[in-house]
């Protein structure tokens, strides 16, 4: 027989003591367990980069605009130890998940134009970008000439292994700005015209970021979409100059590899 004498009915005001005790224990158990679970989740996350997106804080920069292989603003940022002017390249992107060229009025901006840009800076690991909000053409005067820059690959072919993502999120708009959870966002950004970037880590734990363009500097965004956030191996010619190296690659030669595979060295195979 062994039937419990206590009986609980939800709509009655009294809860039998045995039932109330069991429920209290369950709730106390949860109060002890849940904070531990929350703490474990937070402590064992891999953490976030110190990347910064100065959203809402406008910065104005003057420099030379270049469109190919990706939209840049080249600016002078001081003098190096040898007394030579240091050039800094600012990667230009549009609002939201769009590239710089997605804004119609920027499409006709001439390569080599001297411009004043206002926008929000995004920076991480020595790389800087800007979400451009407004642009002004400047008249070229004698003491402020456009900065001329070669835009052709100079190296012999290299093979690089890493992960493709979009530089806007990687630089600080989103954290994390790479990896599987960020994949769809990176696809949207790259499909929207933001140049793809290859994040490469070496055995010393250092990272480098290579903007990706086609063999002739043409955009290859849509050809890379299916590889975004996967481990990939790319072979191409490298323009290592400045703070944003560019890898000119043939998307037909892209290979999926295990994430974290080491770089094979400076050969194409």
């Amino acid at each position: 027989m062994n039937q419990d004498a206590e009986f609980y009915i939800g709509w009655q005001t009294e809860t039998p003591p045995g039932f109330a005790r069991a429920v209290r224990r369950f709730i106390i158990g949860l109060c002890l367990l849940v904070p531990v679970v929350a703490a474990l989740i937070v402590v064992f996350q891999s953490g976030f980069s110190g990347a910064t997106f100065e959203y809402g804080k406008k910065t104005t920069l003057e420099g030379t605009f270049s469109r190919s292989p990706v939209p840049f603003l080249s600016i002078h940022s001081g003098i190096n130890a040898a007394g030579k002017p240091v050039l800094q390249k600012i990667l230009l992107v549009g609002p939201g998940k769009f590239g710089f060229d997605a804004t119609a009025k920027y499409k006709n901006l001439q390569n080599g134009a001297l411009v004043t840009l206002t926008g929000f800076l995004i920076y991480h690991d020595g790389k800087t970008g800007m979400q451009v909000e407004s642009i002004e053409n400047q008249a070229i005067t004698g003491n402020q000439q456009p900065i001329t820059d070669k835009q052709q690959p100079v190296s012999s072919p290299v093979t690089l292994r890493g992960e493709i993502t979009d530089p806007k999120c990687l630089l600080g708009v989103m954290k994390p700005g790479l990896g599987k959870p960020h994949r769809d966002c990176a696809v949207r950004c790259i499909a929207g015209g933001i140049p793809p970037v290859l994040k490469v880590a070496n055995t010393a734990g250092e990272t480098e970021y290579y903007l990706l363009a086609g063999p002739k500097g043409e955009p290859i965004n849509n050809l890379l979409l299916e590889y975004v956030s996967d481990g990939v191996q790319l072979c191409g010619r490298l323009d290592p100059e400045g703070d944003w190296p560019v890898l000119y690659v043939d998307p037909a030669n892209i290979r999926r590899i295990n994430k974290g595979a080491l770089n094979p060295g400076n050969t194409c195979n």
């Binding site: 609980y8 939800g10 429920v23 679970v37 937070v42 953490g47 769809d184 966002c185």
Partner: protein, 363 residues
């Protein structure tokens, strides 16, 4: 029980439980966000909201899922079951915030509509490693929405209990999708063995407690099985000259003393689940499954002359299986006979709500 639409049937208990739920939600969010800001001050506000709401909703879903089997293991947890609905709706709302933030963060302000982006940005359904885990979260959220939207008894009545029950069993499909959503999403990024172990522990707790409840239930079912016996066997057993006519179709159930007063014994005869109640000197049998949500009436009690379901307190009159007016729920009834100290039940059900005279126990 209600015959009119009333958004929430407030009871003092419900208010207490709702306050507890609110306190739990705010305490978790405060703790999670506080720890994040302390240990990872570089986190963005959007990621903070996404992670806080995602982990909270996932945790709450585990709690919701273990309440049912826990009550089958011990009825003392029934107050949690009775008040589970608001926990479910709260969990859905938190999951919805998580879903909306994800949709805005990862899919809005792009070159296609955010919902289209959700299903077209990643179409690698053939690969486990690259599987579009966000779509799993979306479909789980749709199921949780349907459950939350139909959680009121108004929908239970209008959709009919079997349809409603089937819809609400969708929580298991949602849970399976969410386990994959977590494993193929953030855990794949984080790779920490601790996070994998936590996800696994949650899954094993849910599965383990369901298995334990199922084993316990099958033990009860086995114990309740009664086989039909022929009139000839009965004569032998009873050593009495009862006519075959009188006991034809009847099955020996138990001794009168096996049932506590105002309580029941569950019988399974020819697959039919029957709750046999003893109250005063009377015995009546009704179908074991409550019309509300299939609660086990045999674990109920006679209160104010009514069989009272242990899950949410629906009531039925033992002699006709009808809920007292103005309620309209009805369960099937059965014939019961007593011979000396032995009780016999005929497993052939009468249509729900058919009056059957109670068997009288001789003084």
């Amino acid at each position: 029980m209600s015959v009119i639409y009333d958004p929430v049937h407030w009871t003092p208990h419900k208010k207490t439980y709702d306050r507890l739920i609110a306190a739990f939600v705010f305490a978790y969010l405060a703790l999670f966000c506080g720890l994040q800001l302390l240990l990872h001050p570089q986190i963005t506000a959007e990621t903070l909201v996404i992670r806080a709401t995602g982990t909270l909703a996932y945790l709450m879903l585990h709690i919701i899922l273990i309440i049912g089997p826990l009550c089958r293991l011990s009825p003392r947890f029934l107050p949690l079951l009775y008040n589970r609905r608001h926990l479910g709706v709260s969990m859905f709302l938190i999951a919805l915030v998580h879903g909306i933030f994800n949709l805005v963060q990862f899919h809005s302000l792009g070159n296609v509509d955010p919902l289209l982006s959700l299903f077209t940005s990643n179409t690698q359904f053939g690969s486990l490693a690259r599987f579009p885990f966000q779509s799993l979260g979306f479909f789980a959220l749709v199921i949780l929405f349907l459950m939350a939207a139909t959680s009121h008894d108004f929908w239970l009545k209008n959709l009919s209990p079997p349809v409603w029950k089937a819809l609400h069993m969708g929580v298991y499909a949602a849970y399976a999708m969410l386990v994959m959503h977590v494993m193929l999403g953030v855990v794949q990024l984080e790779k920490s063995p601790v996070l994998i172990a936590l996800t696994g522990a949650g899954m094993f707790t849910v599965i383990g407690i369901h298995l334990a409840a199922a084993i316990r239930q099958s033990g009860k079912d086995q114990g309740s099985v009664r086989k039909k016996i022929s009139g000839r066997d009965m004569e032998t057993q009873q050593q009495a000259a009862d006519s075959d006519q009188m006991f034809s179709g009847f099955v020996y159930a138990c001794e009168v003393s096996d049932i506590a007063d105002n309580r029941a014994k569950m019988l399974t005869i020819s697959g039919e689940q029957i709750a046999l109640f003893k109250y005063g000197n009377k015995l009546s049998a009704v179908h074991n499954l409550c019309k509300h949500q299939n609660g086990p009436l045999s674990e109920g009690k006679i209160i104010d002359g009514c069989i009272t379901c242990p899950w949410h307190g629906y009531q039925y009159l033992p002699e006709n299986g009808q809920s007292p007016p103005p309620f309209e729920e009805k369960v099937c009834t059965y014939d019961v006979r007593v011979l000396g100290t032995k009780i016999y039940v005929n497993p052939k059900p009468y249509p729900a709500g058919t009056p059957r005279p109670a068997a009288l126990i001789a003084e």
